[in-house]
Amino acid sequence: MGTLRVPVTPHDHIKGPANAPVTLVEYGDYECPGCGAAHPIVNLVLEHFGPKLRFVFRHFPLTQVHPNAEPAAESAEFAGAHDRFWEMHDGIYENQDNLSPPLLLALARALGLSELELSEALVSEKYAPKIKSDFLGGVRSGVNGTPSFFTNGYQHEGTYAFEDLVLAIERHLHAKASL
């Protein structure tokens, strides 16, 4: 299995403390049903480990089979440019069944962001290079579908079930504790 070839940097979307002993990176697609199912699980895992875990989300849209995945990712980046990435991220996954351009605009409006500015950003593909860069970094790290997880740089081979993710993270915590 792969290792993460693109290290986590401040350009990433990061939840949790910088000095957390374990970093969980997800490559996800906003229209992928598996990613939608993993979303609440990831939140439970974050809650479970508290300050011992930080979470990074990177985009991996399969644009040809998921026509809303790219605009959704660009909308999340747009919100990120206004410091509202995670609110948009949660909003998209929580409303995945209704994912559409109008939903993205409505989510932006609910966050107090300009729908017009978002529309313009989508038309001009302002955030497309960032999505592409996330995607290619994922490909080079061995991401073969979504959702794909890395724990401290190692590709997670188990499922995204709560127990599997917890086990993988605990292994890293124990490895650090025994140093």
Binding site: G2, D29, C32, P33, G34, C35, P61, L62, T63, Q64, V65, H66, F135, L136, V139, R140, S141, G142, V143, N144, G145, T146, P147
Partner: protein
Amino acid sequence: MSKVLPAGTLAPSFTLRVTPDQNLSLSDLAGRSVVLAFYPADWSPVCGDQMALYNEVLPEFHKHGAEVLGISVDGAWCHEAFAKDRRLHFPLLADFHPKGAVAKQYGAYREGDGVCERALFVIDRQGVIFWSYCSPIAVNPGADGILDALEKMSKQETSDGHVTSSSHAA
């Protein structure tokens, strides 16, 4: 797992149906590099599907001047429906009759299951296998191995080019 043809082997030639009324031969792509991706079957679940992934990575493959060909024992009509559904922008070859004949030549046929392995071949401009890899049948091998091989191949071609030009100068 099958023993696939290793690097350094001349890639066996083939002519297969690429649409219900068209054939494609490896020799049609002479002078270009080719990524030949054997896979077990059309219609695997989308988010982890190997062909859907290669479809997204296609611009990167093209940057290296490589053509991508998917190949399975599914028939041309099945491929057509699958490619349309997944909006694939590269050809799928039907190793359908005699079933798996090309896969067998590449050492990428699973006799017991009657399907192709998940086997990858990067073939250089001279038609020689530059890199090959056989993945466990249930594991989508991703695209990192292919991109690493294409990069390495480009570098070697560049350095070979330098050797040629310097020998001309001498």
